[in-house]
Symmetry: C2
Subunit: 194 residues, 2 copies
Amino acid sequence: MRDQEPARARVLDAAEALFYGRGVQSVGMDEIRNASQVSLKRLYQLFPSKGELVEAYLRRRDIRWREALARQVEAEEDPGARILAVFDWLHGWFAAPDFRGCGFINSFGELGATTPAVAEAARAHKEAFRAYLGRLVADAGRPAALAGQVALLAEGAMTAAAIRGSAEPAREAREAARVLLEASAADRRAVAPG
Amino acid sequence: MRDQEPARARVLDAAEALFYGRGVQSVGMDEIRNASQVSLKRLYQLFPSKGELVEAYLRRRDIRWREALARQVEAEEDPGARILAVFDWLHGWFAAPDFRGCGFINSFGELGATTPAVAEAARAHKEAFRAYLGRLVADAGRPAALAGQVALLAEGAMTAAAIRGSAEPAREAREAARVLLEASAADRRAVAPG
DNA sequence: CCCACCTGAGAACTGTCGTTCTCATACGGT
DNA sequence: ACCGTATGAGAACGACAGTTCTCAGGTGGG
């Protein structure tokens, strides 16, 4: 029992690097064993099947991803600037050498049709992201519909950045979001002046 | 040799339905054999390996997808309306019962890291889509940067629609595109009046 | 009519992978 | 020091999938 947490963390670290970097089905348990230096026996004690390891990988990645985003966004004071800060954070993520798109979109495409737990994890992750944007948009006093539009820009930027192998889509998306933000301010001025 | 084309078409039809619907790695050659009613021997004469079948699937899907889009878009007369017609077409696609996101995004997530041909097919498809939007935007006399923003909205809508299992993102994206289009018209009026 | 060739159906081969098992060994409590 | 338990390393097992092979049957030309 002792030392279980380090082993568990090492397994999840290895699983995340491999599953995210190459796709779930391209990675065997042996490879996770080698990368984590945790014996197969222990690995299967910690995660009774590959499927459960995949779920744990997605759960942890969801939490960490959203925490990292929130950390950078909330360094910004102005509510409007916080919305745009989302795209600055995305730019940094896209520029990371191991960036390969959104792990949830990738897993969904690979396994969503055959593994309901993966489809559900992707759905929950995207819904949480959207809800977070909804809070940022509400704090900035913008119409709720803006959140969905900003979410689409962010998700489009993730896939475009992955496929084109460039961080540039974050800039494009930021500029589009800025225009939408301005337009929503204009609406607001027109509809509810003051 | 005789009857080769029907067999080839049947194989590609089966491959497309299965690869798109469930992901490439979840589908075996036996299943394609059964679905297409083409013997394994003939199948391997037509496509010497699964990899080449996957590439043929992506090539044909790219062409057909962009043709179907262009067909609906070009039914619209007004250059500005054509840009928005892209999202109406997306809405129809998303609402199809077998819709499961963008086949290229899905394949990229599944195989992009391990199969360069798949990564390249996805890149080429997205670039062609982006170039098409570039033409629509140019025809409407809008700034070129609008094309990239519209592309991000479209790609974001594809993944959001797949993961949420809803066609609604097409509507959200259309509305965002409409605002960007209007804003670009305002810019144009401000920068180059008349 | 006969033979060379091609085809279809599916068995067989090969490698891989998820999972379990073996077994020698190290450890902890008495 | 002794024994039961748990561990690690890796072999083994079973299923599966990509690819090739076998073989019986059909077809077209001489």
